[in-house]
Amino acid sequence: MRIFQNPNYDFVRWRYHALAFSAILILTGLFTIVQRGGLPLGVDFSGGTVLTVQFNQPVSEDAVRAVVPNAKDASVQRIGPAAENKIMIRLPQAAEAVVDLEKAANDVKTALTAANIGSFEIRSTESIGPVMGADLRKKGIYATLASLGGILVYIWFRFRFSFALGAVVATFHDVIVTLIFLFWFGYDLSLNIVAALLTITGYSVNDTIVIFDRVRENQRTAKKRPLADVVNESVNQTLSRTVITAGMTFLAVIGLYLFGGEVLRGLAFTLLIGIVFGTYSTVFVASAIAIIMSPKVSNEPTASAAKARRA
């Protein structure tokens, strides 16, 4: 069984359209994010308290909201299937510098017990102080940048600079687009989501390297052809692999999204979006940038390509 029989699509011809599409998507996305006051940060990063409470009988969100102290700032939300009666209560960080982390969670427990809306079990509580949140935020950004930097150097070393740039721009593109979709679908930025974003960088680069490897191989046999042609041929040759891998990773992650439970849903969603755009950017963005950034007289093998050949 085959999806593509000797595909020969002219992907490279569409490179400027693709770049324009990505630019429009990113600009619109960033505009909506800025307009609505930035990415919402989960308690991991902003500080605050989250409790997950499971009631032993049906209970309405409003009933819980009515008894939660400082309900004005708190968010009370049902999670999971309705039959499970699980409610997530989020309390933002108190403004004062010195905060009693235990107090917020204990107040909620006391209030829920006092309100007599049914027996319940505290499934989890998480409190994070503001210093910690800022620290984690910094680390998340460092991790992403460091991993992109490491990949840039590796591809530069193994291929050439224009390819490395193409791969890193494509990867950065995927991270930004995924963040935009997370924002549009109302997810808060959490540690799990940052982990998923880093995975996306790995996945997207992975995808790109497969094509670049093929380009390198094809250049060996056909040295005098324009880079654009070789790239297009390579994208076509690896097209079924690109689509099948994306499709199957998507299938595996769908399992995670549907059955992985409340905690991993944000992570799985991030991966799903990242897989779709990682595949798109591999075919359109990475190769486009590699072609545009390559020196026009690229018919002669460059020094680094020659080195890579010997390797």
Partner: protein
């Protein structure tokens, strides 16, 4: 052809056996992280300023004492701390001023530099390297103390470690701990115990200070009591300098007071006993106060010289409180107070649900992928299935062997490992198909497919390992679990996708007569 096939399968068999041995039985061998097992995760910051302040205050008291006991005594109006790390000596007459350095130097010379304040009086500044040392000592001592306390809580495999880049944070994780409040109370209790002389006791501060003109005298302090049996609460005026300090404590255990209520008894080290005996001998008839964490626990009257120090702390304790107090006193005082930066509690049921959901999600992912591979690549789909399952097995074996912890994001890492395994197999299969399309024989196609794709697999895996490495480096707790599974998953995948899968192909091909015309059509891919 394929002479080495037997050896290859021996290696594969051995790897399966070792991995299997490493993870059986899984419930014992695979370590679950806190998010899967339930428990408490705390990040605390040590307020190292406290240690500097204590150092400066001690120096102040010592200088005062030295000035008074010098012969002849050096008069002064006050010695006081002006900041965390500085103190001045004020009001020393010019005639005595030149004797001051000789008196001060032996006492504070190692830790403080002498300078002159704006008004000309001597100013002592803590040496910067001493300040740095004191801060790190405070953190290390806090680490040791918390470690002792946590170990006595009776939780399996607790971890206490330095955390973060600021150097003053400590992370504590207590898997399986259910009584969170109890844990936090024990960990955070400063447990600073001093015995000081009582200069006055009154129901409120105003009455207490009336005899001193409404002001607290220079060498004394006002400390609240912890509450009397009748529900009232006294306020005490105490000498600042302790007769015995907490670091002279030898041991502590739970006991009972004269009416059978829980109490804590402690004994002193020999040096402490000497001081205690001298002080009690000189102050018969007066009250001494047992001060715990800036509260007077009890203020018994000294009946006679006490020369063997078995002191009892009484108060309205529950048995649990008395037991905890004995525990924290045994483990020693914290050199500085702690503030919580992060705390996460996972109930055991959430953990169990997460494990179940994680297993379902992994199996669902594996099933979907296998189904597709079988439809799309026919018999070769079995190769993919075998190599992916082996990859998971070796990965889990690796993690059990190294004692790496499986966390919820780690489960997501497992599922991603499935994805990575699929990707390698697809790359190889597609390449074999291409080679077959060039009318090569099955053996050549398989060999060329694996050979050509190997560099691709190497490059993609190295790039992903770079990501996983940084994730591990910057990540915390659960995220590290994710990075760990991803990292080992990538490593084992090179073995399974390339070595195991190729051996399987060779096994299938070795059963067909070499060079037969229809050979490549029999390769079901």
């Amino acid at each position: 052809m394929y002479k080495n096939l037997r050896w290859k399968f021996l290696i594969i068999g051995a790897v399966i056996l070792i991995a299997g041995w490493a993870i059986i039985p899984p419930s014992q061998k695979i370590k679950l992280g806190l998010d899967l097992k339930g428990g408490v995760y705390l990040v605390m910051q040590v307020k190292t300023d406290d240690a500097l302040q204590a150092e400066t205050e001690t120096a102040v008291e010592q200088i005062k004492e030295a000035l008074r006991t010098a012969s002849p005594p050096i008069p002064f109006t006050s010695v006081r701390a002006t900041s965390l790390t500085e103190f001045t000596v004020e009001g020393v007459p010019p005639a005595d001023a030149q004797r001051l350095p000789a008196v001060a130097e032996p006492i504070v010379g190692t830790a403080f530099n002498r300078d002159t304040a704006a008004d000309g009086s001597p100013l002592f500044k803590m040496k910067p390297n001493i300040a740095v040392t004191r801060r790190s000592e405070a953190v290390n001592q806090a680490l040791l103390t918390i470690d002792k306390r946590v170990n006595e809580l009776g939780v399996a495999e607790p971890t206490v470690a330095l955390y973060g880049s600021t150097g003053d944070q400590i992370v504590v994780s207590l898997p399986g701990m259910t009584d969170v409040d109890h844990a936090k109370r024990v960990i955070r209790s400063t447990a600073r115990l001093d015995i000081k002389m009582v200069e006055g006791e009154a129901p409120d501060e105003k009455t207490l200070l009336a005899a001193h003109g409404g002001k607290t005298p220079e060498d004394m302090q006002v400390v609240p009591g912890s509450g009397n049996r009748d529900g009232t609460r006294s306020v005490y005026l105490l000498k600042k300098a302790p007769i015995v300090a907490g670091n002279e404590l030898a041991s502590a255990k739970i006991t009972q007071d004269e009416i059978g209520a829980p109490a804590v008894a402690f004994s002193l080290k020999p040096g402490g006993v000497t001081k205690f005996s001298k002080a009690t001998g000189e102050n018969v008839g007066r009250q001494m106060a047992i001060v715990l964490d800036d509260r007077v626990q009890s203020a018994p009257r000294i009946q006679e010289r006490i020369s063997q120090a078995d002191v009892r702390i009484t108060g309205s304790f529950t048995p649990q409180e008395a037991q905890d107090l004995a525990l924290v006193l045994r483990s020693g005082a914290l050199p500085a107070s702690l503030s919580y930066q992060q705390q996460t509690e996972i109930g055991p049921t959430l953990g169990a649900d997460s494990v179940r959901e994680g297993i379902y999600a992994s199996l669902a992912g594996l099933a979907l992928v296998t189904l597709f591979m079988l439809i799309y690549y026919k018999m070769a789909g079995i190769n993919a299935f075998v190599s992916i399952v082996m990859n998971l097995l070796i990965l889990l074996g690796f993690m059990s062997y190294l004692g790496a912890v499986m966390t919820l994001p780690g489960v997501a890492g497992l599922i991603l490992t499935i994805g990575v395994g699929v990707d390698s197999n697809v790359l190889i299969f597609e390449r074999i198909r291409e080679e077959l399309a060039l009318k090569k024989g099955a053996r050549q196609a398989v060999a060329a497919g694996f050979d050509r794709v190997f560099t691709t697999i190497l490059d993609t895996h190295v790039a992903s390992l770079i990501s996983a490495g940084f994730l591990f480096q910057f990540g915390t707790g659960p995220i590290r679990g994710f990075a760990t599974t991803l990292f080992f998953g990538l490593l084992t995948n090179v073995f399974t996708a390339v070595f195991v899968s190729r051996s399987l192909f060779e096994l299938i091909l070795s059963r067909k007569p070499a060079g037969s015309a229809a050979q490549h059509q029999h390769l079901s891919i």
